[in-house]
Symmetry: none
Subunit: 410 residues, 2 copies
């Protein structure tokens, strides 16, 4: 069983948008045990979409068409699929009603164009998930199948996970299951991780199952993915568990999550377990640390809040940082302690540094001071981070949170 | 003249690496006036690369093959191109010498595999740029041409800019240039913008030049891209200017930038022009507004900083919000005014609301109150935003900044 991906949109060919959808779908197909041998992009042109879709249907067992389901004139995926199926479109009353209701609930007038999204090829099935206005479609073409999903990533992901992958697995009569577990690590480079795992990888290469892959994911840490193949879920899980037990002592406390959790989720969990509240003072990261901490729901019992002290006077006046250099160990310590006192929190964090592009107070770009205040432990460290402004800010964020994690576990 | 892109590598299909090369090449081709109608990815499989390359050569005037030029066994692009050309490979003595020298100069032993990179199809020309060990190749196939470049981005870019684009332009006898301008808008849905512009789009469709495209980019706003084709830069720019003059009154103050700037760049610019400093109090957005404002350099003369008041008591104690409901117009107003006073800034912003997944204080998910304090103008508005937690927070951020923009321009 194989399935290819056809991404629709002139903006993809012009390089205005990078096609991350196909990559994500490719990964999910691999994890489901479905081969993905081709991925292609075409623009919003009916003739070229038709040709590309016909070729894809001829060549593969299944095709996921991504994009072109929106309400505008150049969203023509529905029409072309109906042509390739050799059927007319009809307007689905339930979808029409749903679209009208969605607009009504926001108190906005609905442009008439939007109803085009209720047009469905005869014989196609609607996917149950409908996070946006455009429904996903399961379209039989002979003994093959074309799935149509929107190009909006979160809508696409919900439909691929909820409808496409289960339908593909059912059609494939997939017996063997593929399961993965992702460890997240921080504090070591990709080549460093590869080096400590080198012996184990040689052993696994000989066995063939499970396999290990690495992926450096910036602020998400360095991911180590273990993948096992087996006859059923239980067998796959037991291979994974055994392998994780082998890896745990090798990776040590570089591993911050064995459950693919983000650093902020891990840190919030540790604080919650200990009944501690947190306050954060940010300079170089400008709010990024708190924005990350509050990205997921359920922060509001732990994070009291914090201060972004971009001007030096805000550090002096509000956080009681001693007058003087603000890119320093002393400032980071004082920020952590000051914000803890100001917000009456149990734990304080402070971060100051130079994100660039210019040096500051004679310190080079990438110089970052991370401070913490936990009980009597009020201290700071200096780190030198690589990269441009964005990477320095991202790395400063995960480095600060990792320091807190290690303090809480110590 | 058109040119398609074929990216080679199983890692691209598995989603381990996102294919940003094709996007970048697509953009360069567009800017050079070469149409790029197809882009495809295939794995490191000789039969499938061969089929994909033959189809591409049949369909298009030129093909850029990206990747598969490395030294390992699965780097087979050279071999397949030679097959499609119908010629043998020969080992190029100069390239062999160069590879030996590169390894020698780094004091490393050279794996014998590396010499495969000196194998060149008969009749192919080597590109002058050679930033790595793998040379780029210009391979004639009848009256068409296949360019082979490495998958390593900086090597690929140097060769595409230095050899591929000039060669394509020469073959095309390119006289025409393509230029785009992107307007950023906020306050109207994609379908709403399409409806407002419908008449103009019909007129432009008849003319064929310039063209208009839309792109909803979340926190980046809704982009309206105008693209013009002309004999030279000056003529293309004058078509663009004329079209922007037509669009300006239609889009009105939905347009926040005619220069593809972000909302935060625009707002910071307006504040700087007026010599005003800013302080921000965030609840629902948890630091996102300030993280956005500080993402680009050059904020430090405008943004004094702010407070993330996640716990209600932080709002009451630090920002002087009156005790009572914190998801309210009153709280948003008081936050804006309170943070302005606390940080001694000229302008204050406050944002509170419900990002979900649960409702709060009886208010549904998506309810957001945006407050401002500018001189005597201290007020707030309620907005109802669509989507999940992430989208509510993103939309709250751009909505708050857009409100400030409108106040500053009023």
């Amino acid at each position: 069983m194989n399935c290819e991906v056809l991404a629709i949109g002139t903006e993809l060919l012009l390089g205005q948008v990078v096609d991350t959808n196909s990559s994500w779908i490719g990964e999910q197909l691999a994890l489901t045990g479905i081969d993905c041998l081709y991925q292609a992009k075409v623009g919003d042109n009916p003739a070229r979409i038709r040709t590309a879709l016909r070729e894809a249907v001829d060549r593969s067992d299944a095709v996921i068409v991504c994009g072109g389901l929106g309400p505008t004139q150049d969203d023509i995926t529905r029409d072309v699929i109906a042509e390739v199926m050799g059927v007319p479109l009809h307007r689905d009353a339930a979808v029409e009603e749903r679209i009208r209701t969605m607009f009504g609930s926001r108190g906005r007038d609905m442009p008439a164009n939007n109803l085009r999204q209720a047009d469905v090829p005869e014989g196609a099935t609607l996917m149950a998930q409908q996070p946006g206005t455009a429904p996903g479609l399961i379209c039989p073409v002979g003994d093959k199948v074309v799935y149509a999903v929107p190009g909006v990533p979160y809508e696409m992901k919900e439909m691929v996970e909820g409808s496409v992958l289960p339908d593909l697995a059912r059609r494939a009569g997939v017996q063997s299951v593929i399961r993965s577990r992702t460890l997240r690590t921080w504090g070591h480079s990709e080549s460093g991780i590869a080096e400590v795992l080198a012996d184990r990888i040689v052993e696994l290469d000989a066995l063939g199952n499970p396999t290990i892959a690495f992926l450096a994911s910036g602020i998400e840490g360095l991911k180590v993915r273990v993948t096992a193949k087996a006859d059923d879920d239980a067998a796959a899980e037991s291979i994974l568990e055994a392998e994780l037990a082998v890896l745990a002592p090798i990776l040590g406390d570089w591993t911050f999550s064995a459950e693919d959790e983000s650093m902020e989720t891990v840190v919030l969990g540790l604080l919650r377990e200990r009944g501690l509240t947190l306050a954060v003072a940010e300079s170089v990261t400008g709010g990024l640390v708190m924005a990350r901490l509050t990205a997921a729901p359920g922060t509001s019992d732990v994070l009291k809040g914090g201060v972004v002290s971009y001007f030096s006077e805000v550090k002096y006046d509000l956080l009681d940082v001693p007058e003087g250099p603000v890119v320093s160990l002393e400032a980071a310590k004082a920020m952590a302690d000051g914000v803890r006192k100001l917000l009456e929190a149990d734990v304080g964090l402070g971060v100051t540094g130079v994100a660039g592009p210019e040096e500051q107070e004679g310190q080079p770009v990438g110089t970052v001071f991370c401070g913490w205040a936990i009980g009597d432990d009020v201290d700071a460290v200096r780190v030198q981070l690589p990269g441009d402004r964005r990477r320095v800010r991202d790395f400063a964020t995960i480095t600060l949170l990792d320091l807190l994690r290690r303090r809480l576990l110590a």
